[in-house]
């Protein structure tokens, strides 16, 4: 959060409509995403009740568990969902984990060994990857648990399940874990993706309700965001987008229908009718969230894509390729808990991704960059003077091109002479701060500690030169090889420019010991994970 976002919220409240906090889209939106809207039975750790899933907004697959406490029915649900998801994933070359391959991988899974993280680099990056959307973060949490409760199962033996079940578990686990990786778009929560681009006139806690959030962003023609958001809180009109159900629905509808299914089962007859009634009721709970999730995808797709999105998606495609290969090669399922080294590596990689994402978003999007300008890490303004052909003698005695540019800015400038800045979009160019000179008597922006008197003169927007600063920059690099700059590589007088301290540089991974060299402080070398019979048999009740 920042003053900018906070102000956008205030403006949204006043306008009765969400306000943009991004000018470009920062997430990849697949041409053919897969939407998964799960519902869970209240009070249980992970009891699937129903789901809508599929990659065609007009044709969702409805999955229903008539007796959510029944183990067999749970696994039937998992198998059905697995077939649906693997059909989708199998549509991506390199994924190649179609149903057949998937089954085979599951069979081999028990024989697999080793950490199986190797093979990086040489493998070609798959041309595309699957993308799974859930309505909200809680849905991703449910996905993670569903993955956890299915990935250790086996297709043979005493507690055999459909071979597709463990494969589903491994994909769900992979996707849910990947969704924690900053900037990854293999699995997204609609509420989070939207909130990255719009500020509503309500609190972030209320934004967790997808219907209410979309009410602010895209209210129906006859009303405004405030009204639409309030209306969206009525669970009868807008059932919660899962995985938790509306307690009123549970008590007044669901309990009766499940009981009817149980009775019909026991007494025969009626069974089909009872199941149909339950399915219809659950479809009614799921459908609004299904439609909303697709609407969220549509709203985001309409935004122009940010410059670094494709690069991040490539990292996602690579991760997808690795996981697909790991499955194909018979690698073991993800362990219950990461070993010390694996956990440290994962954390390090997430931290680097987060830092890089923050910089990339700012470089792609002037509204995000504005946050850095407010913090004094960047400045933007108009060029008031330029010496594009300035040539000086460099330290080595060679004549080098070093144009000077004078920028006049309203931004609170906290950079000092000597600081090296870079213009977004020209990663090879550097701008060294030569001088910083406040214009006008009044202190520059927020830093001005002149107190009340400093602000009293502010009347009307754009109060003249008050608080302006003039910054002289010396440019180097990114201007071609000659002693005159390549056309367009140096800004001219009157141009609007931005320079920032941010730089999207490759951060090498931190050094970690090999797992076999884990120090005793971290438990010593972990025993390699071997899936056990115990794991496969685990109760799911």
């Amino acid at each position: 959060m920042s003053v900018l976002t906070a102000l956008a919220r205030a403006q949204a409240w006043q306008a009765g409509r969400a306000q943009p906090v991004a000018t470009v889209r920062h997430v990849h939106v697949a041409p053919r995403p897969f939407v998964f809207v799960p519902l869970a039975l209240a009070g249980e750790a992970c009891a699937p009740l129903a789901a809508m899933a599929g990659d065609d907004p007009a044709d969702p697959r409805l999955l229903v568990v008539a007796q959510p406490r029944n183990r067999t029915q749970r696994f039937a649900f998992a198998a059905e969902l697995g077939r649906e998801l693997l059909r989708y994933i199998g549509g991506f070359p390199a994924g190649g984990a179609g149903e057949e391959g998937a089954g085979a991988a599951a069979d081999r899974g028990t024989a697999g060994q080793g950490a199986g993280e190797g093979g990086e680099g040489e493998r070609a990056v798959p041309p595309d990857a699957p993308q799974v959307w859930l309505p909200n973060r809680a849905g991703i949490g449910f996905t993670r648990l569903l993955g956890r409760s299915t990935r250790f199962r086996r297709a043979e033996g005493e507690h055999a399940v459909d071979p597709v079940v463990p494969v589903l578990g491994r994909w769900l686990t992979f996707l849910a874990e990947r969704s924690e990786h900053p900037g990854s778009c293999l699995m997204l929560a609609a509420t989070e993706a939207l909130a990255l681009h719009w500020a509503t006139g309500q609190s972030p806690a209320e934004d967790l309700n997808l219907a209410s959030l979309i009410g602010w962003i895209d209210p129906p023609a006859w009303t405004d965001g405030r009204e639409a958001a309030r209306a969206a809180e009525d669970p009868l009109a807008w059932p919660p987008a899962g995985p938790a159900t509306d307690p009123g629905f549970d008590n007044e509808v669901l309990a009766r229908l499940i009981a009817a299914c149980d009775r019909a089962e026991a007494g025969g007859g009626e069974a089909a009718r009872a199941k149909a009634a339950l399915g219809e009721a659950l479809a009614g709970q799921l459908e609004p969230a299904w439609r909303l999730t697709w609407r969220a995808i549509g709203l985001l797709r309409a935004l122009p894509e940010g410059g670094h999105v494709a690069g991040r998606w490539e990292a996602d495609r690579r991760a997808f390729g690795w996981h697909a290969a790991h499955l194909r090669d018979g690698g073991p399922p993800q362990p219950r808990r990461d070993s010390a080294v694996a956990a440290a590596r994962r954390l390090d990689s997430m931290e680097r991704a987060a830092a890089s994402l923050a910089v990339q978003r700012a470089l792609d999007d002037p509204l995000v960059m504005a946050e850095h300008r407010l913090a004094g890490e960047a400045l933007a303004g108009r060029v008031t003077a330029a010496e594009p052909d300035r040539v000086i003698t460099g330290p080595s005695g060679r004549r080098v091109l070093r144009p000077l540019v004078t920028v006049r800015t309203h931004d609170p400038v906290s950079v000092e002479p000597g600081t090296v800045l870079a213009p977004p979009g020209r990663p090879n160019q550097h701008a060294r701060v030569e001088s910083v000179a406040p214009l006008g008597a009044r202190g520059a922006g927020m830093a001005g500690a002149s107190g009340a008197s400093g602000a009293s003169g502010a009347s009307g927007a754009g109060a003249g030169a008050a608080g302006e600063t003039e910054v002289v920059l010396e440019l180097s690099g990114g201007m071609g090889q000659r002693l005159t700059p390549a056309p367009g590589s140096v800004p001219g007088v009157g141009d609007w420019v931005c320079y920032a301290t941010l730089r999207d540089e490759y951060q090498p991974p931190a050094g970690f010991p090999e797992p076999e060299q884990t120090p005793w402080t971290h438990g010593g070398p972990p025993r390699p994970y071997e899936p056990t019979d115990e794991d496969a048999r685990e109760a799911w009740s």
């Binding site: 959060m1 920042s2 003053v3 900018l4 976002t5 906070a6 102000l7 956008a8 919220r9 205030a10 403006q11 409240w13 006043q14 306000q19 943009p20 000018t23 209240a42 009070g43 249980e44 750790a45 648990l145 956890r148 409760s149 006139g201 309500q202 609190s203 972030p204 806690a205 209320e206 669970p235 509306d246 307690p247 549970d250 008590n251 669901l254 309990a255 219950r336 808990r337 509204l367 504005a370 407010l374 309203h410 931004d411 609170p412 922006g445 927020m446 107190g451 009340a452 400093g454 602000a455 009293s456 502010a458 009347s459 009307g460 927007a461 754009g462 685990e538 109760a539 799911w540 009740s541």
Partner: protein, 375 residues
Amino acid sequence: MNAVEARLDRLRGSAAPRAHNARTISALASNPGCARRAVMDAAGVDKQRVAAHVGHPAPFGQSQFAITRGNAFEAQVKAGGCAQLLRLLRERLRLPIPEVSYANLDDVAGDTSNKVRHARTRALLARAAASGQDAGTLFDHPLLRLRAGGRAVYLEPDLIAFQLRGRFHVVEIKSFAVIDGQADGGKVAAAVIQSAVYVLALRDLLAELGTGPEAVSDEVVLVCPKDFSNEPTAALLDVRKQLTVLRRQLARLDRIEDLLAQIPQAVTFDLEPDAAGVPRRDRRALELAIGAVPARYTPECLETCEMCRFCREEAAGSTAALGRATRDDLGGIDDIGTVLELARGSVPPADHQAEAAAAIRAAARMRGEILGATG
């Protein structure tokens, strides 16, 4: 009856008082600055009915599936004189528990009144405290008492175990799962603070019997289902921090007189039910009465307080309604209208707003410059 109690009774009106429970007491800790909540709870007002009568019923409800599951799990853990629980305490927490007896305090020879149950609890705990180190007893559903807001509140922990490592331990049984050693953080936090309320009540009771607070452990035992099964697992949780918070809150509740002094004498939340129990109170009059007690709404209230929807409506147009972080980012300025005026520069900021105003104006300028004049 003292003046405060009389005043609280008048605030509540004709309805029977709603008792505090561990959950309502722990909820106080989440928004301690709210006078409205403190006063209504101290008076035992049925906030859900009051909120509903002014057209803002709370969005809370509990699914019967969740309730059934919770009860079934507790029953299972306690079955056969807490057989499962004992095994857990011995094996998983490696507690040296010798022979144990089991005392069910759900009723006393069929009498389920609070007074009788509390008296019995007291007597049994007194005997246990006075007895030797070896006596092990599990007290099922003891009834404790805590003074909150000048009133005695009855509280019912799931279980109190005596003696583990020579002390009383509160045992709390919850039906949310611990999966691969991890549980939902929010649920654990709620369970911990609830258990802390019981620790406090138990210490109060023992203090009356002349036993020091060290007789009750700072560590409570949380029992939850393991992974996806019905099999229980247990963990010891330190509640010292929560105890400090609760003590401060309760001390504040005890000064309820100070809060009452600021409310007009005529204020009452009476719903004026008719003979059939249907509330007949004029809605507008009730709204005014509620409005007479200042609230401190934050969006977190939506999770915990029955009055939340009413207070949210009342707080509409304030930066607090947009969330604490938003309010802070706007320099603590209360009113959205003021923020936007400062953003436009159409009013001069007050002295204390100068710094926030400069930041807001800079932000507004940048948004305008990037998004065009529409921002």
